[in-house]
Symmetry: C2
């Protein structure tokens, strides 16, 4: 065994999830328990905390208080959407990271995030290797979008999917209480991959009538015809659409909605989306004359820890632990992923995937899991996703409300 002694940094990046802190806890606990890791730092706001020399000392936190991280949503250490430049073009950030790693004798770097974060991991790892600084780098997956390549699924997805399916069931009943016509449009997150929107189908008997994912080009005429057909037949229509639906030319439908308004992009150049549900609801009212309602699940779908999947919580924790334990045993340059079997009962095992292949590749919902018309989801998706939403969270409650972790966040000097 190739023992490497030194400190570690754990960072969180990208959009938060209900269970991102369960992964952090897995990593922190494994690091605190490790004989090789001399000090455990948490980066404030991900890689920005490294660049700004803003590191929290996890060894200073109470082990009891840390345990509440398992049920606390939304990046407890803070997050960022900072994209490192290509080191060949501009290596200033990398020089700074190496400087901080040297300052604190950091020999382990654990980064918890989505595609962009795996790209960050990969670039840092390569830079350290090139400059002869021994450091083991491991990615821990996190994304409600479930779009990371190579892993069966992503920590965070199961909880978001459970929230979406549960809310769809509740809205189904709500939308049926009056004997008057009604069309309800549900807008669900997911720019390029429809995993989250597909989760609406898990509601089974209570699922939306029509479901549109970004995997299939959206045709407005067809959509309005679909809605009208269900409306004429049942008087009630519930539609789930991904925020990222786009036409055959790749234009987001939402961009038609906000045409003329300011277009805001985030620092990765992704267009910021929203307001689609209201836009489509208006078109449906115009087409059918029905009463309409647009509902955005908005932030709740990524932070509703009160409805998290215990399977997701446990797996997220395990992913964090595995990253540290594998790094300590000599492994580097990998993302922790999951390899699962579903025949004869669900089993999930840790798999280690090369960062290189994970970074910047998006995994989409297979076309054959979507019906031919592109407005419904087929059984293989449910077979895939149902095990991921199993189990109720054991989140502690005080006075009927969640008890979240309260960290001291002592800064390293």
């Amino acid at each position: 065994m190739n023992q490497l002694k030194g400190a570690c940094i754990i960072g969180q990046s990208g959009g938060p999830t209900s269970v991102i802190n369960a992964s952090a806890l897995g990593a922190i606990e494994a690091a605190l328990d490790s004989g090789s890791i001399t000090k455990v730092y948490g980066a404030a706001n991900g890689i920005k905390g490294v660049l700004d020399d803003k590191l929290y000392i996890m060894d200073e936190e109470s082990r009891e208080e840390l345990k509440h991280l398992r049920f606390t949503p939304s990046s407890a250490l803070g997050s960022c959407r900072y994209k490192l430049k290509d080191p060949d073009a501009d290596d200033a950030d990398y020089k700074r990271i190496l400087e901080i790693f040297r300052k604190y004798d950091v020999r382990y770097f654990f980064y918890n995030g989505g595609n962009d974060s795996m790209d960050t991991c990969n670039k840092i790892s390569k830079y350290m290797l090139k400059n002869g600084y021994e450091c083991r780098v491991m990615g821990i997956p996190k994304t409600i979008d479930n779009d990371l390549f190579g892993t069966d699924h992503c920590p965070g997805y199961g909880s978001a999917a459970k929230y979406i399916a549960t809310s769809c069931m509740e809205i189904y009943l709500d939308a049926r209480v009056y004997d008057t016509g009604q069309i309800t449009i549900l807008e669900i997150m997911g720019r390029h991959a429809g995993w989250l929107t597909a989760a609406a189908a898990l509601a089974g008997d209570y699922a939306p009538d029509l479901i549109y994912l970004p995997e299939v080009a959206f045709d407005m005429e067809q959509f309005l015809d679909d809605v009208e057909q269900v409306y004429q037949k049942n008087g009630k229509v519930i539609v789930a659409v991904s925020e990222g639906i786009h036409d055959r030319h790749g234009m987001f439908i939402n961009e038609y909605a906000s045409a003329g308004a300011d277009t805001v992009k985030d620092s990765f150049g992704h267009a910021q989306l929203g307001g689609l549900a209201a836009y489509l609801a208006g078109l449906c009212r115009h087409k059918t004359g029905a009463k309409v309602r647009g509902i955005e699940f908005s932030l709740l779908q990524r932070c509703a820890s009160h409805a998290a999947s215990q399977t997701d919580i446990d797996e997220s924790y395990a992913a964090g632990r595995a990253a540290v334990e594998n790094a300590v045993s000599g492994i580097t340059d990998k993302m922790v992923g999951f390899k699962c079997v579903r025949d004869g009962g669900y089993k999930c095992e840790i798999a280690l995937l090369p960062l290189e292949t994970v970074a910047n590749t998006e995994k989409k919902v297979p076309r054959e899991w979507i019906n031919e018309a592109g407005n419904g989801i087929l059984q293989p998706f449910a077979d895939y996703a149902l095990p991921l939403i199993a189990g109720e969270t054991k989140q502690e409650k005080v006075n009927g409300l969640p008890r979240f972790a309260k960290l001291k966040k002592v800064l390293a000097k």
Copy 2:
């Protein structure tokens, strides 16, 4: 004891709640168990089901299946927003109701709803008395708005308040993950009374920075100053507003938002509200230049049974049972309410209130529970509301999702 033998009708009215079916179950079980009640009917879509001779036979349902009503949201029998005319002006509906009551030998009428439903109860009761038809009429309260006069609180409020407070806590953490400025506007239901919006304050350390109820006239200049002040200080602002905030002239702020757009009113003449969060978020961006986000809790706040308060579920059930048991014992013309003590532990008892005084009176949040500036909620509100959100729902789950009641709904002929 004045024994009255005959059938009963149970009806649900107004907007659904997470626990309205718990009250229905309490009433149905008590009626099925009663020696005086010969047959138990559920009115399809409230009073409309009586007028249309569309009654479900509850005796035909499995007692085991009925038990799932306790955890099934959104009026299982269907609801309506039908307003009976003044009988002195037009008694056609009342004649029809009497005809149906005679047809099925209905001697007990239980109606579960809000202010308008208590008005319906009151008018029906008076008409039956005037026409010499012996029938006992009891109202069972139901409203997430918590605005019924005379009762400590209303079934449905605790669960909605718990969902709102929990979601506020989760959004608080979500809104803080990046180290960049952000203003988040949360739009919460409540036309004239701010009970639901006040529930945001129950989030305690994670509560919104600013909370605006309809009990205080809304001043746009003051609001934007309030937001800017918190923004300058913290870089993050979370604001909760009631959909019903209005200026000193009584004009809904939302009407400014939708000026020029269609104005839709429901059959009681209430203006239909929505879109306020996005409107205020836009104004905040204009004022501060900050990144903003508007979130509507929308239908979820009234149907999120997965996050219901077990206290609310138990009390709702008890209210339904009490309505039937009291009617069977000879009482009529009352609404079941709650009388509570909070000193030395929370205790809740059934109280019977005259329908006359309950109907069409709205109970508002006391001004002294709101801070002087009109942008925050004081401790007496938390003391009042916290006991109502206590306890986690015992809702059964199958495959990680709620198991709702599936009724046969056999129609009477």
